[in-house]
């Protein structure tokens, strides 16, 4: 055993002071930290006593504390917006006991390629609320692409706007308990048989995630009966690494088919 130390702060200020120490890191639920080389860590800051188990709803915006678990988020969000893309993305993630443990903050801090939450947060233009050195609110995209934002900072919450867009989520898995090879999220705004707006994101690609702008542009202002679904398959063209689960070319082809199937489902064909 090494000299790993545990800290139990009760205020956010205390917690951010602690994580500014050398090799002292936040511990949300720890399911990933169990896999780390603990010899390289001096201490864990246990976040469970902090006031980060909360839900706030104001007008059309919802905010979740970072220590809410996947199952708590699903249950809270289902009460007000059961079709929300975050509900659809998380409901089949991992399994019941893991969803009772994995927190939204820990998940965002880690953001592995197989994450089920990142696509949904990107498509929702969610904001990450940070305390500590980089205190402030940041769009999820900026947070993911600016690694220094994580340094000596603590995720305290997320917020996003609720919408009436139609939503679709697809996890590419071999068995129910698998981590997904890739995850597709789609949101469509449809009015009188016409697609007014749409957003499509695939996570788990070589770029970590890709917004499928070519398909989005193709679909915008198109009437439902004029959509060529085989064209959507061709336009997707995302790249996958050869190191993960399956053949990257196959995954790429499959992603095209599944994006197209998702659109079909959303427009009711």
């Amino acid at each position: 055993m090494n000299n790993l130390k545990w800290y139990y702060p009760e205020t956010i200020r205390e917690a951010t002071d602690l994580i500014s120490k050398e090799k002292v890191i936040p511990h949300a639920s720890g399911t990933n930290l169990l896999l780390r080389n603990l010899k390289k860590i001096n201490g864990f800051v246990n976040l469970s006593n902090l006031p980060l188990h909360y839900t706030k709803k104001e007008d059309n915006e919802i905010e979740f504390g970072s220590m809410l678990t996947y199952n708590e988020i699903i249950s809270e969000l289902k009460k007000i917006d059961k079709e929300n893309i975050l509900v659809k993305s998380l409901i089949n993630s991992a399994d019941t006991p893991l969803r009772n443990r994995i927190t939204i903050g820990g998940s965002i801090a880690l953001a592995p390629p197989w994450s089920d939450i990142i696509g949904a947060l990107l498509i929702l233009d969610a904001k990450i609320i940070l305390a500590g050195k980089n205190k402030g609110e940041f769009l999820i995209e900026e947070f993911l692409n600016t690694p220094k934002l994580k340094q000596k900072s603590l995720i305290t919450g997320i917020k996003f706007k609720l919408s009436k867009w139609k939503t679709f989520s697809y996890r590419n898995i071999r068995t129910k308990k698998d981590m997904p090879a890739f995850h597709i999220v789609e949101m469509l705004k449809i009015n009188k048989h016409k697609i007014q707006d749409c957003k499509i994101i695939v996570t788990g690609t070589v770029n970590r995630y890709d917004q499928i702008i070519k398909v989005e542009n193709y679909l915008k202002n198109k009437t439902i009966n004029s959509i060529d679904f085989s064209k959507i398959e061709q336009l997707v063209n995302v790249k996958f690494s050869g190191k993960r689960f399956t053949d990257p070319e196959y995954s790429s082809k499959l992603a095209g088919i599944e994006v197209s199937r998702g659109i079909k489902k959303l427009v009711g064909i």
């Binding site: 545990w6 511990h27 720890g30 930290l33 864990f44 469970s48 019941t96 006991p97 893991l98 009772n100």
Partner: protein, 158 residues
């Protein structure tokens, strides 16, 4: 480290290392009913209730849950006073080698406490964190359905 936990309704002090997993601490401190299976959060043999929620105890650092409420399968019922759910498992033939059974009982208990009349899909979802290599799950699902019927008939509060 030596810290306090509430285990099966009683205050207990566990001795453990700072990097130890809860399954190991529980077993090292006498709670052998918590089975050590895969240590990867896949099989559910180590399942316990943590503040009434089913979790894999192999996926938790002991130090991260000090002072919390922990319930093992023996806190639900034991050989002398088996719970309705445990009886239902025996009667349905849902126990073969028995290694996974404590985890399944925990998952079933958590489900039936929240929803005493679950659908088959809700049962399947509730046990999605548990693996059984013997029974093929049919009898386990039957057992949970039977336990649900008994709980409703006898108006039992879990």
């Amino acid at each position: 480290m030596k810290e306090k936990f509430i285990i099966n309704g009683k205050e207990k002090y566990l001795t453990f290392d700072a990097d130890e997993r809860l399954v190991t601490s529980l077993r090292n401190n006498g709670f052998k009913e918590v089975k050590n299976g895969c240590l990867e959060g896949e099989c559910g043999a180590c399942m316990i209730l943590l503040d009434d929620k089913p979790v894999h105890s192999c996926q938790i650092f002991t130090a991260s849950v000090i002072n919390k409420n922990i319930q093992t399968v023996k806190g639900i019922g034991d050989l002398h006073f088996p719970h309705i759910i445990q009886n239902a498992f025996v009667e349905a033939g849902a126990v073969q080698c028995g290694f996974c059974t404590p985890g399944f009982i925990i998952a079933a208990y958590a489900l039936l406490k929240e929803n005493s009349n679950p659908t088959e899909n809700e049962i399947k979802r509730a046990i999605d964190g548990n693996l059984c290599r013997c029974t093929g799950y049919v009898k386990i699902i039957d057992a949970i359905k039977n336990a649900s019927k008994t709980i409703q008939k006898e108006k039992v509060e879990l």
